[in-house]
Symmetry: C2
Subunit: 409 residues, 2 copies
């Protein structure tokens, strides 16, 4: 059977045409008609609407192909902006992007730590206001704010079964609280899913790839993209790679299961093992401790190298399971923990997949470190908002939050 | 974010309309237009073509809704047939289905055993000819033959990395050999994928389900359906649930990896463990031995119950991993081994998922035993052929084989 495309067909004519213009840079109406599945009159009508809304501008003329020279169209990147916020225990990373996906501002603040959720929300809102003012972007031009966090997150008002790092956030109405504080629509999603979408949206990955972004921050998760479409599953909780079982009799995980990848080889396990082996760690949280271990490994510290190698074996087995279940082309290592220690993990994961991927006679699975690893989730959060603008199911600005009830872990 | 539909939009107008008629039983053109995304003139043109081709018939008139009474349309089930063949070590199961998916003949023959591939192919071809004659179906009305087997299968000419049960079949040009022998297009695919599609096609499962069919025959695999679309992955090798790692230091599997579900808890492991524990087994192959163990467990034999329970723990952890990665609604236990011992596996898997599925606060994962477990793969093979007829990418009869280069394991 030929490969089935897993639905990108859901985009409306306006969204599809906007996306073609974005990808093309400059393009004529004739070329637009050729590259889209729409008739010339439809393209003409939609382009007129996009120009009226200020999303697209005419930028001179192209070469004649016989008749009069065609008018070229271009996205107006400054017509709309989106904000992505990645909320984690160890840091809050935010980016502001224009309609073309270019990051025009970025800021990083202390993590949620032990602060109460309402205080954190006020802090995020104040930072957004300050940064919009700093780069002189009118809040009226901001489509919305994408907030991503480890999960799972259920509905857009509360989180449940929260990871140990975010226990205070259980049942806190994050989306509505932030909407009230900043006056913009807020969209909640899972950080690993966002990171995968960010990789894809940033154009670093072939549009037809079937890949997993393995995200390691305080915990471990995966964003999965199948043939260009994010896998969400039944309730947007797909990609829980940290809770793949690697030992049926293994230690109990905070999620209730036994022998999860996260409990056997996640960042907390790396920190615990290093400390148990005598390494002195002074970080304020698991990610800072992990960073100290990564630096020690870089200096050749045998204990640090050993605990990271041990973690890498579990991450490799996790990647093998994802590759065998999903028949992946590519695994991208992303998130702050892989930004710190990815060079140690990458060869272990690559060698494991080269030797053990089930369909290796058919094709190999490439392993890469993201070029945006520390900011991938925040960039992905932005792209979620930009995509929501492009999607016909979320036609208006204010509608973003209304139709975004669920996110993942 | 709202759930994204994973592409069923690829069906052509003809295929989509045929599928709506199939699902509806009888339907008027007006209702067809309402239920499809096509205009009334398109529906009218397509219906005319379907009637001309004999695929659809007019069957009287429905109730008037104001104007004249509408003509009702119905699929002509006898217009086309498809054959599904499930090739396994322990048995070759075949079914003949009409266009509506109704099984009109079924036959079961001895498995491939130690017979040479060309002899098996001749045997399959002879059985097909005999059975078509028996039920008086003209071979001209047969769209093609779907052949499914454990895999992986690469291209349509050869298999590589074949499971221990099918070593002789490595590099054997199965599809072309059978095409030559029977004079019909042949489509190759993975048995677990076919079983999932069969469950879905047979209408036993909600059209929007996200589910995995865990298939246990001589080995263990999964067919995965996401929102109504079969997951194939990058090279049609998705769903290799038997090669999910459950122990990074576990015993070596025939696939090259360590601690795979299949080696820890698959049928061969059940048989080996039972024999090691003193159970006398007299079967001719692993599935016959497994059947003896299942029967012994049914009689309350403690050893048999113990080895099956142990296997069920691994199958449950495998289901947990699939559910956490894919965010499943449903796991269907299918294939001959679950047909024999599913009632012992089901509660173990269900309890495990109830307690350990990561997003259990959001929704549960239901576990079912297929009502077609022994024949699921053969029925699925039929539905692959029927679907190929409905898909615009495979418009002609003879084209089925040409565009079906790959299958999975």
């Amino acid at each position: 059977m030929p490969r089935q495309r897993l639905g990108t067909d859901h985009l409306s004519s306006q969204a599809a045409i906007l996306d073609i213009i974005r990808a093309a840079g400059t393009i004529s109406r004739v070329e637009l008609t050729q590259q889209s599945s729409f008739s010339a009159p439809t393209v003409s009508t939609v382009v007129r609407r996009l120009i009226d809304e200020g999303l697209v501008v005419e930028v001179g003329h192209g070469e004649s192909t016989g008749g009069k020279r065609p008018t070229l169209l271009q996205l107006n990147p400054a017509a709309r902006f989106a904000i992505g916020v990645h909320l984690d225990h160890g840091g809050i990373t935010s980016v502001l992007s224009d309609l073309a996906g270019t990051i025009v501002a970025r800021w990083k603040r202390p993590g949620i730590g032990s602060q109460e959720p309402p205080e954190v929300v006020e802090r995020i809102a104040a930072d957004i206001r300050d940064n919009l003012a700093r780069v002189a972007v009118d809040p009226e031009r901001v489509i919305g704010v994408g907030v991503v966090a480890p999960g799972p997150i259920f509905q857009h008002t509360r989180m449940t079964l929260t990871s140990p790092f975010m226990e205070r956030w259980t049942d806190f109405p994050l989306a509505s609280a932030l909407e009230d504080a900043i006056g913009l629509p807020v969209l909640l999603d899972n950080d690993a899913t966002a990171a995968a979408l960010g990789e894809y949206w940033a154009g670093a990955i072939d549009v037809r790839s079937t890949f997993a972004a393995l995200y390691m921050g305080s915990g471990l998760g995966a964003g999965i993209v199948l043939d260009g479409t994010v896998l969400r599953g039944s309730s947007s909780n797909a990609g829980e790679a940290g809770h793949i079982c690697l030992d049926v009799d293994g230690p109990r995980c905070w999620c209730g299961a036994r022998g999860c990848v996260e409990v056997l080889g996640g960042p907390q396990r790396v920190v615990d093992a290093a400390r148990a082996a005598g390494l002195e760690l002074t970080g304020a949280d698991v990610l800072q401790d992990f960073a100290e271990i990564a630096r020690a490994a870089g200096r050749g510290d045998a204990v640090a190298v050993e605990v990271l190698r041990d973690s890498a074996r579990y991450v490799a087995a996790c990647a093998q399971t994802l590759a065998n279940v999903l028949d992946l082309d590519l695994v991208v290592l992303t998130g702050p923990a892989f930004a710190l220690a990815g060079s140690l993990y990458l060869p272990v994961v690559q060698q494991h997949l080269d030797a053990m991927f089930f369909a290796r006679e058919s094709h190999s699975v490439e392993v890469l470190i993201s070029s945006n690893a520390p900011e991938a989730a925040a960039i992905g959060a932005c792209s979620l908002v930009l995509q929501s603008e492009l999607s016909p199911r979320r036609p208006g600005l204010r509608a973003v939050a209304d139709v975004t009830p669920v996110a993942a872990g």
